[in-house]
């Protein structure tokens, strides 16, 4: 690929019952681009978890996926409450999800750990009351 391929999505914060749509679309696009299945799997997991987090914890946001020759970069930006203690939030099992959301199957406290585990780099830029930007990359070279 000579030029980067960029996908942009607005992620709706109201409708957490059908969340995950941006990730499903990205998976399809990466398939069409001929990206290897193991990279698609890792991008799908990381992006899905980040997308869901924006929906259930931050009232929505936006997602950008940039595909270049050697990596896939995922940038998730929200204007939600921010994460007060990132190292606590990163711990497996830590969750502040409400009961109504837990009853849908969310709230295992595994989303952020999965994002870390399945990507090569992950940066969390968060400010209380301002929002959170998470940047992840998966190397594909």
């Amino acid at each position: 690929m000579a030029e980067n391929i960029v996908f942009h999505f607005d992620v709706d914060g109201e409708d957490f019952s059908s969340a995950g749509g941006a990730s499903v679309t990205v998976k399809k696009k990466l398939r069409q681009l001929g990206i290897a299945p193991e990279y698609i799997r890792r991008v799908s997991i990381a992006m899905y978890e980040g997308e869901i987090n924006m929906v259930i914890h931050a009232n929505g946001g936006s997602a950008d996926v940039i595909v270049s020759d050697d990596e896939i970069k995922i940038v998730l930006t929200d204007t939600g409450p921010g994460i007060p203690d990132v190292s606590l939030a990163m711990q497996e099992g830590y969750s502040t999800a409400r009961d109504s959301i837990r009853s849908l199957g969310f709230g295992a406290g595994m989303g952020l750990p999965n994002m870390k585990k399945y990507t090569d780099t992950m940066e969390i830029d968060t400010e209380l009351g301002r929002g959170t930007t998470i940047t992840m990359t998966v190397k594909i070279a």
Partner: protein, 113 residues
């Protein structure tokens, strides 16, 4: 485990086909209800046993390329989840057995995962 057709276990365990095709091989089995655990543990071509019936399980099954979702305890899919399964071409099976009973039955049948 060896590969097995969905149709084989539909017959032998008397599963109902809620939607989708059953002429597909599956390779492993994962049982669990938390979506972000399933997201990382369900591998392509796995059978995923759960009692979760909302639309989010369809997204997870689709993203992980699960061979099928198997709903235990006669749980029925929510209408929007059924529509999403049809649209995304996700196979959904169901059974009156519990998750444990399904795992035992599948284990007897020769699946380990």
């Amino acid at each position: 485990m060896h590969k097995m057709k969905l149709s084989e276990i539909v017959d032998s365990l008397s599963l109902s086909v809620v939607t989708g095709g059953i002429d597909r091989d599956f390779e492993g089995v994962y049982a669990g209800d938390f979506l972000s655990r399933a997201m990382s543990r369900v591998e392509a071509d796995d059978l995923w046993i759960t009692i979760m019936n909302n639309v989010n399980v369809i997204a997870v099954a689709s993203l992980t390329d699960a061979a099928a979702i198997l709903l235990a305890e006669n749980v029925s899919l929510m209408p929007d989840a059924l529509a999403a399964a049809r649209e995304k071409d996700v196979t959904v099976l169901s059974s009156g057995l519990s998750v444990y009973e399904l795992c035992v039955a599948l284990g007897r049948y020769g699946t380990v995962s």
